[in-house]
């Protein structure tokens, strides 16, 4: 081992800065996980505080406010529908885009579809405000002009899961469609030629060739998303609804709950929630990876 370290000394030295960053920001914090099993207080520090076993976890799942169960539900709900629509729409884009021949049209539309990816969630939040603001938003203007009652969107929580899922799909549709297009460029053109010779029309070529060939890509990307289904997108939720307490219940995901409960409910409790998330993530990613290997000729996600 020392011989190897000596021989490739220069290469190992080049790895050091990155590894130091990982140690500082990923591995050292893992020691803090211990807080999840204690009743942390500042005087006694992380390792001196009273050990309480799984009490923090118990409170998360069975606490009387029901907030724990609620945020798990919200996280799974938003991620699940985000995954479904965030798969179907980009695939439709990629397939339809492939049917178009006009070069200029292609260039302009692709630029337009890819643009939302470049915006931060704060900017997306500003755009959503422009749509749904009570007095000036275009949605309320539209409702008023067509003779409907206007809606105080920022006080009506029932709409916001839908709005957030839409925003999520909107922001990522161009990006994800590029992944599917990348997969499609690798398809064997002779398959399409053969199908054309056999008299298959465009629609049949899409359903009989393109879709089946896309299946492995869809499965791999979906499995990756499923591996992270317990992780909410903090930036998305916070950028769009901020800390608006009227909407909070409806859209709070595990990640935003951890952040807002950090000060009110303490470090131990919120560390426990984070640990639950990470462990679920570890289990799901490992399972997904195994499944991915099965459908993908032995090639896993990692």
């Amino acid at each position: 081992m020392f011989k190897e370290l000596k021989k490739n000394r220069q290469l190992y030295i080049m790895c050091i800065p990155a590894l130091v960053v990982l140690i500082l920001f990923a591995y050292i914090p893992m020691a803090g996980i211990w807080m999840a099993f204690t009743e942390y207080n500042i005087q006694d520090g992380i390792f001196g505080s009273k050990f309480v076993g799984f009490q923090n976890f118990k409170y998360f799942f069975t606490g009387s406010t029901g907030m724990g169960r609620k945020v798990i539900y919200n996280t799974l709900y938003i991620n699940f529908f985000g995954l479904i629509f965030g798969t179907i729409i980009p695939i439709m884009i990629a397939i339809n885009f492939n049917e178009i021949r006009g070069k200029v049209f292609k260039k302009i539309t692709q630029s337009a579809m890819f643009f939302p990816y470049f915006l931060s969630w704060v900017v997306v939040g500003a755009i959503i405000y422009a749509f749904f603001s009570t007095d000036t938003g275009i949605v309320n203007r539209f409702l008023a002009n067509s003779g409907h009652d206007i809606i105080r969107w920022y006080a009506e929580k029932k709409y916001w899961k839908g709005i957030i899922i839409t925003a999520d799909v909107w922001k990522w549709c161009g990006y994800n469609s590029i992944i599917y297009m990348a997969a499609m460029t690798n398809f064997d053109p002779s398959l399409y030629e053969a199908a054309t010779v056999d008299g298959a029309n465009r629609f049949q070529r899409i359903t009989r060739i393109t879709l089946p060939l896309l299946k492995p890509t869809v499965v791999v990307l979906s499995l990756m998303s499923i591996g992270r289904i317990f992780f909410g997108d903090f930036g998305m939720i916070y950028g769009i609804v901020g800390n608006n307490s009227l909407l909070y219940d409806e859209v709070a995901v595990i990640d935003t709950y951890v952040y807002s409960a950090m000060r009110s409910l303490g470090f131990s409790y919120t560390t426990a929630i984070g640990l639950f998330q990470s462990v679920m993530g570890l289990i799901l990613v490992t399972l997904s990876n195994k499944l991915a290997k099965k459908v993908n000729d032995g090639e896993g996600l990692f």
């Binding site: 990923a26 755009i127 007095d135 307490s245 952040y259 990470s278």
Partner: protein
């Protein structure tokens, strides 16, 4: 004969339908993606009283530069400061990231490196398992003292494992024979990295560099975590603060008496700040877009 002809016509009719649908669908999605941006732009160039009266629209109402003039006259310094913070963070962060990331990516792209899989696993494990927000926040604040420091805006996101693997894929495309002949000539790995690997992967470096730069430009999470000194707000966080005040009031949860005391930025100001925040991206977008497409495609068809 006539039957065959008939069939031919029917097929091409269905093909035309598919084509027509494709144009309509793509056109619709593209419009849906770009329309909100046009609206934000046009409102920022509109007259505020016209916007309050008639609402938002995609065409400027009574086009004027008043909002921008007002903005720079009243909070120009504040915005300028946030701009400088964001620009500095983006530049320093991106260069730091590129150096750190390209070195390790280069190292583990060399097949002679015996423990490269171990190093890759150390990186990968941080994607699969993390300590969670609270322990991370705890060590950053209590042990590394990142509260209100610019380091808190840069260091936590200086190394992305995803970008590292993307870069490794690019480096792996460099022919090994070039390295070998350089080694025979007595070049060290530092020289190979600097003189051969980097120059040969210029496009790749630009791609990953732009990805990091976009990340830093759009970041407000680190600011939310560590910064409460207004002078150190990056641009995105400045915008976030404006909007979250507005949110609180339009939800009606602040009593109207109190709301009257909080001076709200006008509609056009909110949109103008949004435009200022995305400004450079709009101008650079036509030139940088292709690099991102390339990066996504390379990442998508890895190995």
């Amino acid at each position: 004969m006539s039957a065959q002809k008939h069939k031919h016509i029917r097929i091409s009719a269905s093909d035309h339908m598919v084509k027509l649908f494709a144009y309509l669908f793509i056109g619709f999605i593209a419009l849906a993606c770009i329309y909100p941006l046009i609206m934000v732009l046009s409102v920022s160039f509109s007259d505020n009283s016209a916007v309050t009266k008639f609402g938002y629209s995609a065409v400027p109402r009574e086009m004027t530069l008043d909002t921008y003039r007002y903005l720079f006259a009243h909070s120009g310094l504040r915005i300028l400061r946030s701009y400088v913070v964001t620009i500095c963070i983006t530049i320093v962060g991106t260069f730091g990231s590129m150096l750190i990331t390209s070195m390790i990516a280069f190292a583990i792209s060399i097949r002679d490196l015996k423990y490269r899989n171990v190093i890759a696993y150390i990186c990968n494990f941080t994607i699969i398992f993390s300590a969670g927000l609270i322990p991370w926040y705890y060590v950053c604040v209590n042990w590394y003292h990142m509260m209100n420091s610019y380091a808190g805006l840069i260091l936590p996101s200086i190394f992305s494992v995803w970008n590292m693997f993307l870069m490794r894929t690019y480096f792996s495309a460099v022919p090994v024979s070039l390295y070998e002949s350089a080694k025979l000539d007595g070049a060290s790995y530092y020289q190979i990295y600097f003189r051969i690997a980097l120059p040969l992967s210029k496009t790749a470096m630009l791609t990953v560099g732009l990805m990091y730069a976009l990340c830093y430009w759009n970041d407000w999470w680190n600011a939310l975590m560590f910064i409460n000194d207004r002078d150190k707000f990056p641009l995105q966080y400045f915008l976030y603060n404006i909007l979250s005040n507005v949110n609180a009031i339009s939800s009606g949860r602040i009593p109207s008496g109190a709301a009257a005391n909080i001076k709200l930025p006008s509609e056009t100001v909110k949109m103008a700040v949004t435009v200022i925040t995305i400004g450079p991206i709009i101008f650079l977008y036509p030139f940088i877009q292709k690099y991102f497409v390339d990066g996504i495609m390379t990442g998508a068809v890895k190995e």
